[in-house]
């Protein structure tokens, strides 16, 4: 079974600084997707960034980027120029490909709570 591990329950970063959230996963599959979701106090789950395992290039979305190390099964999220609005719980998630049956489900880590200070 696939597992996702986030070893940092809480992180703190100063506004305008850079922070990296860690995620490791375990799978025997070669084709899969990885995601980072943000959950602010409103509880809404918001997709931040996704990475396809077959792509070597790391995904980027504005201030958010990932460091995907397939051999090490590591998928960290870097937030640059942190803003107060980045304060939230961040979840790493894994999904098998293709999108059929139980492969369609997301497997989540336990989350990292990010605080942003002035």
């Amino acid at each position: 079974a696939q597992t996702v591990t986030q070893s940092q329950p809480e992180m703190s970063v100063q506004e305008a600084e850079t922070v990296t959230l860690s995620c490791t996963y375990d799978t025997s599959e070669s084709d899969y997707y990885l995601f980072w979701y943000k959950q602010p106090p409103s509880r809404q789950m918001i997709l931040v960034i996704r990475q396809e395992a077959y792509k070597q290039q790391n995904a980027t979305e504005n201030r958010f980027s990932v460091n995907f190390q397939k051999a090490a099964k590591s998928f960290s999220l870097k937030i640059s120029d942190s803003q107060l609005g980045d304060a939230a719980m961040y979840f790493c998630a894994y999904r098998r490909a293709p999108y059929t049956g139980t492969a369609s489900k997301l497997t989540f880590g336990t989350g990292t709570r990010l605080q942003v200070t002035l």
């Binding site: 509880r43 999108y99 369609s104 489900k105 880590g109 989350g111």
Partner: protein
């Protein structure tokens, strides 16, 4: 309203009562999911549905029942609520594409308290 909605947003019930959480999506997505969120566990899949009238168990299905008679609705029923089912419940939907556009969209969640 377009998107995915859940009702109620908050619910308090007593042990042994039946509770139904509603989920509605307007995109005609094939796939729908129910997750529960608990401290220390992240989100875990309860049930999912690949299409109308097709449902299957996830990781933690015990004590829950689902149905999907229409593509847009996916209700989750707790037949006899227990305190261990106190949680935040998220419904999600997805197109089921194998390509890039495979995002799951989440509803706003329902906070359920079982006394």
């Amino acid at each position: 309203d377009a998107g995915i909605t859940q009702s109620p947003r908050y619910k308090i019930t007593e042990t042994g009562r039946q509770v139904t959480l509603m989920c509605h999506q307007t995109w005609s997505h094939s796939y729908m999911f129910w997750y529960r969120q608990d401290l220390g566990h992240g989100l875990r899949l309860i049930y999912y549905s690949a299409a109308a009238d097709i449902t299957d168990k996830g990781e933690v299905p015990d004590g829950y029942v689902v149905s999907r008679s229409k593509t847009e609705n996916f209700p989750l029923t707790l037949e006899s609520a227990t305190r261990s089912q106190t949680s935040v419940y998220f419904c999600a939907s997805g197109r089921g594409d194998t390509g890039y556009q495979d995002e799951q969209f989440f509803g706003p969640g329902t906070r359920l308290t079982v006394l």
